[in-house]
């Protein structure tokens, strides 16, 4: 490698494109590592869907703000406005449920069930992460956040 003279160095640029390459590479590796370790982790839900038995009733996409109700359940689903979100009321052949969709915080909370049981589902926490779910056993209603497979919860 040719030795540079003092004047040549003084008059030269502070750095060249070649000097930046190692830093760019380190940055790229850091981004790749972030992808590897962060992507598989649980994330806040972007969509949730509601099942009655094995049939999908409706779904909601938080990003698009889009509510989709399946044709069969169009007459059984009613929505209404609320602060920071909206209510959904679902009446199926098994019963009635009402839940609140908090669009600001991206959570869903069951608030009412007309079953004759202890209404356990109304005491369950609001779902917020991919895979979270709320199940109303008597009314065979299940709200699942995003993921195809809900997380295991025992109790």
């Amino acid at each position: 490698m040719k030795k540079k003279g003092i004047e040549e160095v003084k008059n030269g640029k502070y750095f060249t494109l070649w000097d930046l390459i190692p830093y760019l590479l380190i940055a790229a590796i850091a981004v790749a590592l972030l992808l590897v370790f962060l992507l598989p982790q649980k994330q806040n839900m972007t969509v949730f869907y509601v099942m009655h038995g094995d049939e999908k009733v409706m779904s909601y996409d938080f990003d698009a703000g889009e509510l989709t109700v399946e044709e069969k359940y169009k007459d059984g689903v009613v929505t209404g406005g609320g602060e920071n979100g909206f209510f959904v009321e679902i009446r199926t052949s098994d019963g009635f449920n009402r839940f609140f969709v908090d669009t600001a915080n991206r959570t869903v909370k069951m608030t009412e069930a007309d079953c004759s049981f202890t209404e356990d589902c109304t005491y369950l926490p609001a779902i917020e992460n991919e895979g979270d779910s709320i199940i109303c056993v008597p009314n065979k209603l299940r709200i699942v956040a995003g993921s195809e497979v809900s997380s295991p919860v025992t109790g």
């Binding site: 490698m1 070649w18 390459i21 190692p22 590479l25 790229a28 590796i29 790749a32 590592l33 992808l35 590897v36 992507l39 598989p40 982790q41 649980k42 099942m51 038995g53 094995d54 079953c115 004759s116 049981f117 202890t118 356990d120 005491y123 369950l124 926490p125 199940i135 056993v137 065979k140 299940r142 699942v144 993921s147 195809e148 497979v149 809900s150 997380s151 295991p152 919860v153 025992t154 109790g155």
Partner: protein, 385 residues
């Protein structure tokens, strides 16, 4: 630095970055690349008076085959197990046992025999704290299925019209507790056939003669969860889990990486006994069966006293120990079910003593701290939430 050296560094670095990028799209669990696996989940509410969810991660090309497996072999098997173990129904072995005379021997199915066998084992290991021969007590206190259907009508001599506000008579409580000696009930296999001999004991109250009655719902869900998981494994499905009612679960491996969990592990949360919907414990599990019992759900309150659906076989009344909830996991969901129930009955000290006798089973329990809260005892590798 010459151009050649620079180019070499850039080439190596590019390969490294591409490899890492590729890693982000692949996930190898136990030698299987599950990065492109998709999840499917099916739920039925037709059995055990609760939900049964089967979750599976599989190659997308297997989705149709798994749906057929669910609709065919799995559902048929759930129906068969529930049919054998239910309290009523034409094909119910338990109903046949309950209808038999004291001391009578009846033939039962292989499926029922498997459940009876596990029940006998659990009864022995727990010193009778788990006891399926308390069906009459369960019915007396208003926790059998006929009370859950919303159209309850008093029909038995011991029924109360308003059973959630009126306690049963002590006479019935004592009489039914006296019928629960499950050690007198014998099972045997003979030339490929299966038999059970009912305990030769009776109790007479109000002119009615009662015999020992079984309720295997305490282990039935776990028994079924394990059976479903076995079918999944038999067909090559290694990723997923089975959840029956939230209280009985059998886990295979997880095909998704969860925060804090090792590859292949599920992050299983346990509901708080405060019944506020929060979770109090999280365990990282794979290829294991799990069960939870607790008195904080399915109960009623009379004059400030909570009466839970878990019956104490020694008193014939709802359990009144300091254990609010117990979770047990190990290789068999039915036994885990039985052990978690027994821990509630035995109380904190008895539960810890029982845990010391259990090989291959891990427990976590929450007990009353006397101040409206709870404390936790556990030998599990998990995290308090």
């Amino acid at each position: 630095m010459t151009k050649k050296v620079v180019l070499a560094v850039v080439a190596v670095a590019t390969i490294a970055v591409l490899s890492l990028g590729l890693c982000a799209c692949t996930l190898v669990v136990d030698g299987i690349d599950v990065g492109d696996y998709v999840g499917v989940q099916y739920t039925t509410y037709e059995y055990f008076n609760t939900y049964c969810t089967v979750s599976c991660y599989l190659p997308s090309s297997d989705k149709k085959a798994f749906e057929e497996l669910w609709e065919g072999e799995i559902k048929e098997m759930i129906g068969n197990i529930e049919g054998c173990l239910s309290l009523d129904g034409e094909n119910s072995d338990v109903a046949a046992f309950n209808a038999a005379a004291a001391g009578e021997t009846i033939e039962i199915s292989k499926t029922a025999f498997g459940a009876f066998f596990l029940a006998k084992e659990a009864y022995g290991v727990t010193g009778g704290a788990f006891n399926p021969a308390i069906a009459l007590s369960v019915d007396l206190w208003g926790f059998s299925p006929r009370f859950n259907e919303g159209d309850y009508v008093p029909s038995e001599p011991y029924d109360r019209k308003d059973y959630k506000n009126e306690l049963p008579s002590d006479e019935y409580v004592a009489a039914f507790a006296g019928l629960s000696d499950f050690s007198q009930t014998e099972i045997r296999e003979e030339d490929g056939a299966y038999f059970v001999r009912k305990a030769d004991v009776t109790a007479t109250v109000g002119g009615e003669v009662y015999t020992q009655q079984l309720d295997l719902s305490g282990i039935g869900k776990g028994y079924c969860a394990d059976a479903i998981a076995a079918v999944m494994r038999k067909h090559g499905y290694k990723f997923g889990y089975v959840n029956i009612g939230g209280s009985s679960m059998t886990m295979l491996k997880n095909a998704r990486k969860e925060s804090g969990a090792d590859l292949g592990e599920w992050s299983a949360k346990v509901l708080s006994p405060l019944n506020d919907g929060s979770n109090y414990f999280k365990a990282y599990l794979k290829d294991v069966s799990l069960a939870t019992s607790g008195g904080y759900q399915q109960n009623y309150e009379i004059k400030g006293v909570i009466y839970s659906h878990i019956l104490d076989p020694f008193t014939g009344a709802p359990y009144a120990s300091d254990v609010l909830t117990a979770t047990v996991y190990g290789e068999n969901a039915a036994l885990a079910d039985a052990y978690s129930t027994a821990m509630c009955v035995l109380g904190k000290d008895g539960a810890v003593a029982l845990a010391g006798r259990l090989e291959g089973y891990t427990y976590t329990l929450a007990y009353d701290d006397g101040k409206g809260g709870f404390r936790v005892l556990s030998n599990a590798d998990g995290a308090l939430l």
